[in-house]
């Protein structure tokens, strides 16, 4: 089975074959034999060439959030069919650059620094959200143009509510 994974903005192509014991993985012209045990719904133990890896894994944004040695990365995975569909231009994850800025916490909007039409850079201040009695600066995760502002000072928002919409560069 062929796979394509995107980790930290890098794309990696490889294939995985199930064997009687463990898996065989073809990656970068080499073959790895992997002993993989699922420890719990959220964690795995991998042994690759004698090296032991303890990983935890949760679902996030249609992909996986994987943590290894206290480093976490989001991995977007495509299987054989999805790779094929991507070649036919049916890949919607690449085409859509519009992004909602989502409230990371439940809180009260104190101040909004941007308005519709503003050009913003990644890490620009967007608004101040008060939660747990602290004023938290919400910064942009992308560069682009603000296309819609869903909140005003005084709005109360739950975790996951959209705050503003940005047309990505």
């Amino acid at each position: 089975m062929k796979f394509q994974a995107t980790v930290d903005d890098q794309t990696i192509d490889f294939s995985v074959e199930t064997q009687t014991q463990g898996f065989s993985v073809q990656i970068n012209d080499s073959t790895l034999t992997i002993d993989c045990i699922r420890l719990s719904p959220y964690s795995y133990s991998l042994i690759i060439n004698g090296r032991s890896y303890y990983l935890s894994l949760t679902n996030k944004n249609g992909g996986y959030r994987i943590t290894l040695d206290q480093q976490s990365f989001c991995v977007q995975l495509k299987d054989e069919t999805q790779i094929l569909l991507g070649k036919f231009g049916l890949n919607k994850t690449i085409a859509d650059t519009t992004q909602n800025i989502i409230s990371p916490i439940p809180g009260l909007v104190r101040q909004v620094f941007v308005k519709s039409g503003d050009k913003i850079e990644k890490n620009d201040k967007l608004l101040i959200l008060e939660a747990m009695k602290m004023e938290n600066e919400i910064v942009s995760t992308v560069s682009g143009v603000v296309s819609e502002v869903y909140v005003k000072p005084g709005s109360s928002k739950n975790k996951g509510d959209p705050l503003l919409r940005i047309e990505g560069d």
Binding site: M1, F3, A5, V7, D8, I12, F14, V16, T18, F23, V25, I27, N28, L32, I34, C36, R38, S40, P41, Y42, S43, Y44, L46, I48, Y53, Y54, L55, S56, L57, T58, G62, G63, Y64, I66, T67, L68, D69, Q70, Q71, S72, F73, V75, L77, D79, T81, Q82, L85, L90, K92, P104, I105, P106, R110, E130, A131, M132, K133, M134, N136, V139
Partner: protein, 500 residues
Amino acid sequence: MHNKILVANRGEIAIRVMRTCREMGIRTVGVFSSADRTAPHILMADEAYQIGPPPAAESYLKIDRILEVAQESGATMIHPGYGFLSENIQFAQAIIEKGLTWIGPPVKAIREMGDKTVARQTAIDAGVPVVPGLERPLTINDDPVAISREIGYPVLVKAAGGGGGKGMRIVTKETDLVDFIERARSEAISSFADDRIFIEKYLENPHHIEIQILADRHGNCIALGERECSIQRRYQKIIEESPSPFIDENLRRIIMGKAVDLAQAVGYAGVGTVEFLVDSQYNYYFLEMNTRLQVEHPVTEMITGIDLVRQQIKIAQGDVLEYSQSEINFHGHAIECRIYAEDGFNNFTPSVGTIHELVLPDGFGVRLDHGLRVGEEVTPYYDPLLGKLIVHGSTRAGAISGMHRALSEFHIVGLETIIPLCLTIMENTRFRNGNYDTHFLIDELKNIRSQKSTNVAEKRNVFAVAAALHHTMTNRKPKITTGNHALSNWKMTGRQVELQ
């Protein structure tokens, strides 16, 4: 003889207090909001009572309800922990009026040290140096611009009830002054219902050094050394250690003496902390006194071998101090990392959610005070502090390597935590050399971030393969049976992809 203590708190500190109660043979009464029915402190308590809905204002801050529980359960003493009602005069007074024992300092000391103006004057009168600034709150007739010019920029704008980063702003240029005063005022009104604002000299690159005090009700007062708390973000401490790598034995003894002077001037009893700012020239200035047990008290416990909660209970019972100043010795070095449910690499954004899996650090020199449990939900209602990891070593270097090892073992799956940030701080050269002040985190955060992204290259393949193996082991697609001829496999896959 007291045989039952109500712990008016939750999370790691409630558990911390209950542990000592158990060791002393005292029964414990836990209280919980409806969000905390299955929280570890409730599982641990001998008795448990619900006190209200999730918001703290309707549960953990509800004085009447907590007193009702005390009566119902027959608890004779109340321990407030830190935060919540720990420095609340009405609460302390109500407990005393009911004939119960308040495990805390005298009401007068809480009142006087809780008011920045009175605290400052008390310090001046006791011969303890204070930071230059306006000695009273700003009034409508004051010209903050002229006052700040006189003190000299940068100035610190802070609310009377402020603390822990709330209601405080540093102003470096005059054009920001009015705006920042308004911001501090609005935070102060919403957090402490007190809009008095102070302006004082802001010390650049100071160290935050605090002295642990232990005083009984018979006039005895001793100091248990210092804690260096300069690893902070927005005035919120993240890492504390004792002894401080910055001050020497001479200065330590001087500051300890000043802290005792202040505690005695205010008639203190119980455990308390006198906070100082120490600048690069080793000038020290009184900052504030915290009239409660502090979050970072374990580092002092680890190097003195003294259980501070046990001392609190004994002092509240009217016992004479078990120790004299000459009996206090410091052994080795202790470091504490606060484990916050926040993304340390993303502006400390709070993280909430369910704890799916937990691997706790252990081993030589490791102490973990926490309130975590698999399946427990971390809600946005309370402080994001999940626990504290404390490591003791015979030397500072030993404590750092022990902390690094313990952090690397610590896995909390389901939430973002500052564990990865703490780990990179343990690897930081400036930190390892003990060459840091309160600006450390702001200065180093950029370097720490870039370090994070360079280390990942070698592990990228492992991340990719792990995702694929998970997919292979969990997404075994159902085989198409002969009864499903009408559906094209191509169309099904197409729809599935579109639905994602």
